[in-house]
Each structure stands twice: as C-alpha cells, then as structure tokens.
C-alpha cells in the first residue's frame, strides 16, 4: 500500500499509474498546516499518531507543486519534522519537487546535504543549466526541461524531463536542480546518496557547480528521497497538431520511485508504439529529394527495428494506408504498382524498393502488424471514417475478389429501407434473404432492413458512416491487405489504427465488432471523441477505443530537427524546443552543440510522453516512419547530429526507440515493450461492468 499525498488542484494521475500497475494505494490531502487528511482520519502532521499512521505504508509519495519563490509553509513539517522520522520502521518518503528554498522557514537537520535555494544567490545554491527552461513555447508540452540524467545505482543514462525547483523568471518560469554538499554527503556515509545527476549530451557548455558541490536531480537522505517534480502545469496539449489533450507529466520519476522503494507491481505496463503509412514518400524533400532515396531510409530503418523489436517482444501496429487499389493515388498500394509515384526515371527502382520493404515487413509479422488505415474515405477534413453521416461518396468502388461477403457483383444494401427491430416486422419471415431482407445490429440489438436500396454494381454512390458503407470499406481494405500478403495481419490481430484517428461512428463500430476486432486507435480529443467516458475504459460491444497521441519527429514535409527554410515544420518548433532563440539563433555558429540541446529536449519529452500514455491512459503513441526522410541515404542509421552539414540529420526511429529503451531497461519491473494485445488485455483487466 502506498500513500499518495496531494495538495489542492492536483489530478488523479499518480494514482492512475499505481492502479494500472495493480499497486494498492490511498490518497491523502495536505494543504493545511495542522491537518493531513487521509481516508482513515485527519492527523496533525507532526504528531506521533501521524508517524504511526505512515508506518503502515510501503512508501509515501508527497507530490508537491510549489514554487521556490513562494513562502507557503503548510507542508513545512515534511522537512522540519519528518526528516527526523528515520527509524527502521519509518517508510521511505518520496518528496517530488520539494521546494527546498530559503524563503519558507525550513529547518532541516544540520547534516542535510541539499542546499536550500536562495533566489538572490542563484549560482551558489541552485544548478540552473539554462535560462527560463520551465517556460513553455507555443502549444507544445513543457519540453524545454528535457534532460539526460545519469542514474548512479544503475550506471545508466536516460532521457526524461526533470526539474527540482522552479520560480518566476522575467519571461516565464525558471528552473534548476538541487545542489548537494559533497562534504555533508561524505559525512553521511551510507545515510546519504546521490541517485541521479545531470549527464547532458551538451554538458560541456553548461555552467559548473560551485566547488565542493554537485548538481543532483535525485538525492536520498536516510529514508527520505528528494525527487524531481512530477507535476507540470500550464500547457494543454501535446502538439499544436492535436486537440486539447491531457499534458504528459514526468511519470519516469514516479516509476523510478517505486523501484527505489522496492514496491513490486502486479502488472507490467506494455509500451506500444504505432506506425502509419509503411511506404510513404515525400515529393521534393529538402534534404532527401528523391523518393527512392527515402525508401532506402525506410528499408534500413525497418531492418534495424525488426532486430531491435524481436529481441524485446515489441510489436508495432502498422497502418497500411489502404484504398489505393480502388482510389488511385490515395494509398500505400500505389507505391508498389505505379511507376509515376516516383521522380522521373526512378519508377522501376522505386517499385522494386517498395517491394523490398513489403517483403521485409511480411517476413517479420512478429514485429510489424499491418492493419487498415484508409485515408481515401471522405470526411469533413479528408481523414476518413468521419462520423459525419453527411457525406455522399459519389464514386465509391468496392472490391471484386471472390469468396468474400460483399464483393461485386454480390447484391448489397447501400441505404436503409424500412427497419424493424428483428422480430417486430409484420412479415412471414424475419430471416435475411440477401434480396429484400438484410440484417445488421446496433448496440447488440439485431435489426431487419426490409427492401433497402441495393446494388450489384462495383461503383456507386453511398453515404458515409452507415453500417453498409462501413462493411464495404473495411472488407475491401482487408481484401487489399490480403492481396499484399498480409493475410493474418490486422484482421488476425484484430486491432487497427484508423486513419486520422477517426473512429467512424456507430456504423463503423458495429462493423468492427462484426468483423471480430478487439480495438482501434482513437483520438480522445474533443472533436472526434468516441463514446464518452474514462479514456481508459471506452468500449462499444467489447470493442476498445485506445487513446493515442502523435509523436512525429516533425510536420509537413518532415524537414527533421531544424531547417531554416522549413522552420515552422521542424521539430524545434513542432515540439516547442526553442523559446528564446537559444537553438535556432546559434544553429550554424555553434553546430552541432545547439542541435544537441534540441535532441535532449525532444527525447526527454518523448520518453515521458510514451511512459505517460501507457501508464496513465493505457494507450499508445504513434508516428509516421517517413520521419526518417531527413537521414542521409548513404548512412541511414546515422546517430544524432554526427554529420557536419548543419542539416540536423539523424534517424528518428533509431533515436526514438533507443531513448525509450533506456527507460524501459531501468524500469523493467514496471514497464516493458509490448504487443497491442498485451495492452488490450491490461485494459480489459482493469475494466469491469458498472453495476
């Protein structure tokens, strides 16, 4: 049992992570000096009763969110009294983001090794590595606090986001890490320990701590663990590309605290990343202009990922951009079948390389799970599966492959006639006959459709969002996948990542359920929200809607980390990595070191986002592999910024998975690389009927 102590205005997420892991927990509230309000009664925080109460827990998480320039003192007892509670019976107490500053009236013991921050003497009391990093840029998450830390117990470095202290700056919020006295640390012996120190890839350009002190993000003092802040306020969405969305917080430190407390979980959280568009290329890419060269990057990246994934039980749901077989130039199909998808003279080579990629994917169904992702379906914003019900697709084409259910020229209904709940129609027979009586279901209730509009044509007009269109669309996309060779994929896995994250509405939901699908990816943003409710438990007849968020490298033509000619689409802007020009103003004069700042911030945010989506929302992240387009085709697996041409080339797939893998290795009792079925099982495990 873990006690999570919150102050006001904090949300459910630490508890959500513990629930996901199957770790029992209780929540207490502490915002009055004399009252720690727990489910078992209110205690005076300095009382012996309180101390005895805390002793029943395996660990206590005190989740603070206090600015270092605030003099709010209600929780001062957590330092002034609790630091003396260090008998063997006292539990480990984790202070997340404790504002250890001089303005609060804190009186820690004389041997306490962390320096209290004095904002009037910043350089000697706080390690402030850059200016105003706790200020968000644009719509982006608070990505500028991305760091790489060295975990001294594991002797490993991980990217994450971390600040221990924050305070108001001139333009936004400043942040820094603790400074620890080496002399006091030494005197403490086994009772003091530095757990995490900065290990930035650009450490050499950063300020040195004062002599005799060391910067630290995590410190142990007896049974008291001083961790980075968990709470991140302010920003409201992951990227400007998406609907408002809960902001990912620094979940890494919660999971790492569980490890330090030696609290074992009942369940592991599977990390699942999804891909869209397996053979997409971009016309006129600024760094890799020829599409056939982009295919080399994709091929090499997939080969790397195949080997990476096989060793780690990683399986990637992979959206086959379907429909190109029926609507030319709208799908991955075209890359295999049309020479004019490529630059002049490259057609045959392009087709061959697309085929090589297909073969690689087909040979690794344990790592790549292809499924339906049809952008050709009309929609309000051209994304498919729109749920608008208003759109008529005037030239819809279905498939003609034999032995399916709805291929042309089978007679299919395309618009409802008179519809009865089955059993309530005044007819001699309630059985569907394939001519004038057809069946469909909604919410588990079967309906009989009498004399609907039918057709035997291959091409006709049909209204989107109906169960009839959904059946035709999904079956033709499955037929296309079969023809590509993905016989057991998608359908066999019974999960799909819908185009544009759109869920299609009830007609589509019913059809997914008919086809036996278990789940589909759905944006939980406001505009396209599937059935209302807790995003961790959205169901329609057993079909799960899995929340996901985009973690693409960059936008538009995928210029990569930073290109002055495409700055708005670059990762630096897309992820809000630069606020004051600290990266772009020095891009060429201090290359690649300034780019390294961007990489550190980006990867720290990526790791947090991935862990947070899986741990809190029990969801996934997704991206488009064409984010590898900026790689040099001569060296597709090039590591970050090792080139010298100011292009910021690096392989996003390699860096993305490697960065998350470091965190997964460190937190291996709690998270793992997983398959979508492990995630769906976990979601099912936690779902129970509302009775």
């Amino acid at each position: 049992m873990i006690l999570v102590i919150q102050t006001y205005s904090q949300s459910y997420e630490i508890q959500a992570i513990l629930t996901t892991l199957g770790i029992p927990h209780k929540t207490a509230w502490w915002f009055e000096t004399n009252a720690l309000r727990t489910p078992d009664g209110t205690f005076h925080p300095t009382s012996a009763d309180c101390r005895n109460y805390l002793r029943q827990f395996k660990a206590v998480f005190l989740n603070s969110f206090q600015s270092a320039d605030s003099n709010w003192s209600a929780q001062n007892a957590s330092i002034n009294t609790w630091l003396g509670w260090r008998a063997p019976q006292d539990p480990p107490i984790f202070h997340f983001g404790c504002a250890l500053s001089t303005g609060r009236g804190l009186t820690p013991p004389a041997d306490f090794p962390i320096v209290l921050a004095d904002l009037n003497a910043l350089s000697s009391t706080v390690w402030r590595w850059e200016a105003e990093v706790d200020t968000t840029a644009g719509y982006a998450p608070r990505s500028r606090i991305g760091v790489r830390v060295r975990l001294l117990r594991e002797n490993r470095s991980v990217y994450t986001r971390a600040v221990n202290l924050f305070w108001a700056g001139t333009q936004g919020r400043e942040a820094g890490s603790y400074l620890v006295s080496l002399a006091k640390l030494s005197a403490l012996g086994a009772n003091g320990e530095v757990l995490a120190i900065p290990d930035f890839p650009d450490q050499s350009r950063l300020p040195l701590p004062p002599a005799g002190f060391i910067p630290a993000f995590a410190v142990r003092y007896y049974n008291h663990f001083f961790m980075p802040r968990y709470e991140i306020g302010g920003a409201t969405r992951i990227t400007s590309y998406h609907d408002p969305f809960p902001i990912p917080k620094s979940i890494f430190w919660v999971l790492y605290a569980l490890k330090l407390a030696q609290v074992k979980p009942l369940l592991q959280i599977p990390i699942v990343h999804e891909f869209d568009h397996w053979v997409e290329t971009i016309s006129g890419h600024p760094l890799t202009p020829r599409r056939v060269e982009q295919l080399v990057n994709l091929l090499e990246s997939y080969a790397w990922l195949r080997d990476f994934g096989r060793a780690r039980n990683l399986c990637i749901p992979f959206g086959n951009r379907a429909g190109g077989r029926y609507n030319p130039y709208s799908g991955d199909w075209d890359a295999l079948t049309r020479t004019n998808m490529y630059d002049a003279g490259d057609g045959l080579v392009g087709q061959q390389r697309a085929r090589q990629i297909l073969d690689l994917l087909l040979d690794a169904p344990d790592v790549f799970m292809l499924n339906i992702h049809d952008h050709s379906v009309p929609a309000v914003n051209g994304q498919g599966f729109n749920n608008s019900r208003g759109g008529i697709w005037s030239n819809f084409r279905r498939h003609t492959d034999p032995y399916w259910q709805y291929e042309a020229p089978t007679r299919v209904p395309i618009a409802h006639g008179t519809v009865y709940k089955r059993g309530h129609a005044p007819l001699a027979s309630n059985a569907p006959d394939g001519a004038t009586r057809f069946c469909f279901a909604r919410n588990g209730i079967e309906f009989l459709d009498v004399v609907p509009t039918t057709t035997i044509a291959e091409q006709f007009a049909i209204r989107d969002g109906t169960v009839y269109m959904a059946r035709l669309v999904l079956e033709r996309d499955l037929a296309e996948a079969h023809l590509l060779g993905f016989v057991e994929w998608g359908h066999g896995w019974r999960y799909t990542n819908n185009a544009g994250n759109l869920h299609g509405g009830e007609g589509y939901w019913e059809t997914w359920a008919e086809l036996g699908f278990r789940g589909l990816r759905a944006d939980i943003g406001i505009n396209q929200r599937p059935p209302a409710g807790d995003p961790r438990q959205m169901y329609y007849r057993g079909l799960q809607f899995v929340p996901s968020t985009n973690t693409d490298f960059s936008r538009g033509v995928q210029p990569g980390l930073y290109l002055p000619s495409h700055s708005a689409q670059s990762a630096v802007q897309y992820w809000g990595l630069d606020l004051l020009g600290e990266i772009v103003s020095f891009w060429e004069t201090e290359y690649p070191i300034r780019g390294t700042i961007a990489v550190r911030r980006l990867l720290g945010t990526i790791v947090d986002t991935s862990l947070w989506m899986a741990g809190v929302l029990r969801g996934t992240t997704y991206s488009h592999p064409i984010g590898t387009a900026p790689c040099a085709p001569s060296n597709p697996l090039q590591r970050a910024l090792s080139g010298a041409d100011y292009t910021g080339r690096f392989n996003y797939i390699v860096e993305f998975f490697s960065a998350i893998d470091e965190a997964v290795q460190v937190l291996s009792d709690y998270v793992k690389w997983g398959t979508i079925h492990e995630l769906l099982d976990l979601r099912d495990y936690h779902a129970y009927p509302a009775v």
Partner: protein
C-alpha cells in the same frame, strides 16, 4: 450462507456469488429503438386504417410493428418535409397464442388507441408523439398500425419508433 463456486471480479477483488450478493447483470435498456421508416401521408381529411402507415403500407390489415406486448408506451419521433399539418391515428390489436390477430377481417379489426394532429409550424421540422394508454397502465397490445393523412400537400414523414418497457 456459504459462497458458491461462482464469482466475478470487481476491480482487483474476486467476489463470490451468494444469495445476498447476486451476479451482476447488464440491465436491458428501458427504451429501445424498434422501427425506422418513411411514408408520404395519404390525402384524406380523417385518418383510417386504410391510410398509409409509417412504413408506407396502405394495406389496412397490415400492422406497422408486431410482437409489441412487452412495451408499455411508445415514443414516436420523426421529421416531416413541409409545414402541412398531419393527422395521425394509432390503431392496436391483440393476438392469440399463435401470434395471429384475435379478429382479422371486417370491422373491428383495430382498436383506436390515440389520434391527433402533428404540426411543425409553417415549415419542415422534427416532432415527437408519446403513445400511451389513457388509463395510465401499460398499452400491452401486440400489434400497432400507425397511419398518416393530410387534406392537401401531404408531406413525407420519416419516423423512428422506440418502445419503453
């Protein structure tokens, strides 16, 4: 009471089923959709079973919906295509144990349950009609025929009927 071998999971906990702790069931919906259809109202000043029903049928002995005994009330929501008022009537009848009407020919085939006029003002629009027994009890009939007529300019009426158990 000893627990049985049957149990169910509530969160992390396995709950045994006992006489006082029943297996949770998903309650059937209290209101459920039964019918969707479209019809052009008959040109007539007063409704009769010969007028067109909600599915477009003009056969006076044909019910609009059957097997309706389980519903105590009906909610009829719909849309009509112009501002002409529509007169409607709801006819009902009971069936024998074989599902055949108690009386199938001549006068007295149908009992008139409810009639009225639907107005959506001067233009097309949505409407809602609640069909229930005048004594406040359950309707309880097995067959219903819901018909439409208008003296002139009959609109198209698209209907959905829901049953309330």
């Amino acid at each position: 009471m000893r627990p049985t071998l049957i149990g169910y999971r509530r969160g992390m906990e396995l709950v045994p089923v006992t006489a006082t702790n029943a297996l949770p069931v998903v309650a059937p919906p209290a209101i459920e959709p039964l019918f969707w259809g479209s019809a052009n109202a008959t040109v007539a000043s007063a409704p009769s079973p010969s007028c067109v029903d909600l599915s477009g049928s003009t056969s006076p002995e044909t019910p609009t919906v059957v097997n309706m005994g389980m519903y105590h009330s009906l909610v009829w929501t719909g849309w009509k295509s112009n501002g002409t008022d529509v007169n409607y009537a709801v006819y009902a009848r009971a069936t024998d144990p074989n599902g055949l009407p108690l009386h199938t020919f001549g006068s007295g085939v149908w009992a008139l349950v409810q009639q009225g006029t639907i107005s959506t003002g001067t233009s097309a629009g949505y409407f809602r009609v609640l069909i229930r027994a005048t004594d406040g009890g359950a309707l309880g009939y097995d067959h219903y025929r819901i018909v439409l007529c208008a003296p002139a300019s009959p609109p198209t009426v698209i209907s959905q009927v829901k049953g309330i158990r």
